[in-house]
């Protein structure tokens, strides 16, 4: 492989883990080169200036180079002021990171996912509509990677009727059924990403959970388990 050098690429850190004494291996989502792993050498030394910057949820500009699969981080700058994630939104940020790590293949560029991710983090940092922010991100992610849902038509190609109910099958789509869980009205609202109604939000959550779990083929999302545990501990008073 020839040596690649990339300069000031917009990126977010998804996850980092220790490597040797003072280094980190970071998983990053870049705008133009997709998800990849980099080694950040010597960043955990006491005089390192980059350790404070190499954190998830900060819009960064990174430079890296290398010949092999694992490239070396050479420079990092903050692209924008920090987005402060608070409380539950903070944990949801980890969930979004895990979704990206699980669904995007390495070196598969998806600039639109990058933009959606940035958008999602901004919404999470405002903190008022966490659920809506997550659902929009999930729906868009599925669309971009080819698992998009057909929310306008049922399996037979007929338009979704707002006054009818539908059952859902991940492989095929929506089937009209009197006792179906999803109402046509809700499906159309999800299609237009209108998440103001709590009913739409709760049905969208069920829908996306089914879709995501099917595509993950039985491997549970670790962050979801932890977030459920966290919120249940904090709630039971």
């Amino acid at each position: 492989m020839t040596e690649t050098a990339v300069y000031l690429q917009p990126a977010f850190i998804l996850q980092h883990r220790k490597y040797r004494e003072t280094s980190l291996i970071i998983d990053v989502l870049t705008r133009d080169f997709g998800r990849l792993s980099l080694v950040a050498k010597g960043v955990k030394k006491s005089k390192s200036k980059t350790a404070g910057v190499l954190q998830p949820f900060i819009p960064l500009l990174i430079s890296y180079l290398g010949k092999a699969e694992l490239k070396t981080l050479t420079d990092v700058e903050i692209a924008q002021p920090l987005m402060q994630l608070r409380g539950l939104a903070f944990y949801c940020g980890f969930y979004v990171n895990e979704l990206i790590s699980r669904f995007l293949h390495k070196y598969d560029p998806h600039p639109e996912v990058f933009a959606d991710y940035h958008e999602c983090l901004s919404r999470l940092s405002i903190g008022s509509d966490i659920e809506a922010a997550l659902r929009i991100f999930e729906l868009n992610l599925m669309d971009h990677i080819g698992y998009g849902l057909q929310l306008e038509y049922d399996v037979n190609g007929a338009s979704i009727n707002p006054s009818k109910h539908y059952a859902f099958n991940v492989r095929h789509g929506f089937v009209e059924a009197a006792d179906g869980y999803f109402s046509g009205k809700v499906l159309l609202a999800i299609k237009s990403r209108a998440f103001t109604d709590p009913l739409v939000l709760s049905e969208a959550k069920m829908l996306m959970r089914t879709v995501i779990d099917t595509h993950l083929q039985g491997k549970p999302l670790k962050s979801r388990t932890v977030i459920n545990k966290i919120s249940s501990t904090l709630k039971n008073e």
Partner: protein, 198 residues
């Protein structure tokens, strides 16, 4: 280098220590065998005893060979003030700085949803029971200044709020003797957000 046999096995085993590679391990093994057999025996015996006897303190979960560690057993320390740290090593560091006269609670990690580490893995149920008894007045959160550290601090802060216990986070920002010129932008923005009135 002899790879097989007891000598090879010893060198290999020494490599499990942090910062010790094959070369250093080789030096250590030869030093112990050639010049310091008594030291080696003492090391081996102490190591075995330490592995067998050292466990977690039942109150603060730090490493100790007793059921209650020296700090928790010390009655002159303020038991209503608890400092939460990630590792037993942090207890030593804070104790050496001699700024804190309360007790500790060691998490042995931090909340990391991506690695599946949740409140239960950190022994937070033990902490919660202690908060519930009402004997604690303040928690000082000395987790590291990373996202996981913040996530942990936030969760414990909420937990403290549930039991009406005051919780505070140690300050981060410009180090002592540090000049602004040499500080990274992340730390600097943190320092600005956490500024103090004078």
């Amino acid at each position: 280098m002899q790879k097989n046999g007891l000598l090879g096995q010893l060198i290999q085993s020494l490599c499990c220590l942090p910062g010790v590679g094959p070369k250093t391990a080789q030096r250590m093994a030869f030093q112990l065998l050639q010049h310091n057999r008594n030291g080696a025996r003492l090391l081996a015996e102490t190591l075995l005893r330490a592995i067998d006897e050292i466990g977690y303190c039942r109150e603060c979960r730090t490493l100790t060979e007793d059921s209650l560690c020296g700090i928790c057993a010390d009655n002159s320390r303020d038991s209503s003030l608890i400092c939460i740290v990630e590792n037993p090593a942090d207890v030593w560091i804070i104790d050496q700085a001699a700024v804190f006269k309360g007790r500790y609670f060691v998490l042995h990690g931090r909340l990391s949803p991506l690695d599946g580490i949740g409140p239960d893995e950190l022994g937070l149920d033990i902490l919660e029971q202690r908060l519930a008894t009402g004997s604690v007045n303040e928690l000082i959160l000395a987790t590291s200044s990373t996202v996981e550290g913040e996530a942990t601090a936030y969760f414990i802060g909420e937990l403290a709020g549930k039991y009406h216990v005051q919780a505070s986070r140690i300050a981060h920002g410009v180090p002592m003797g540090g000049e602004l010129e040499f500080i990274d932008s992340g730390t600097l923005s943190h320092a600005f957000n956490g500024r103090k009135q004078i």
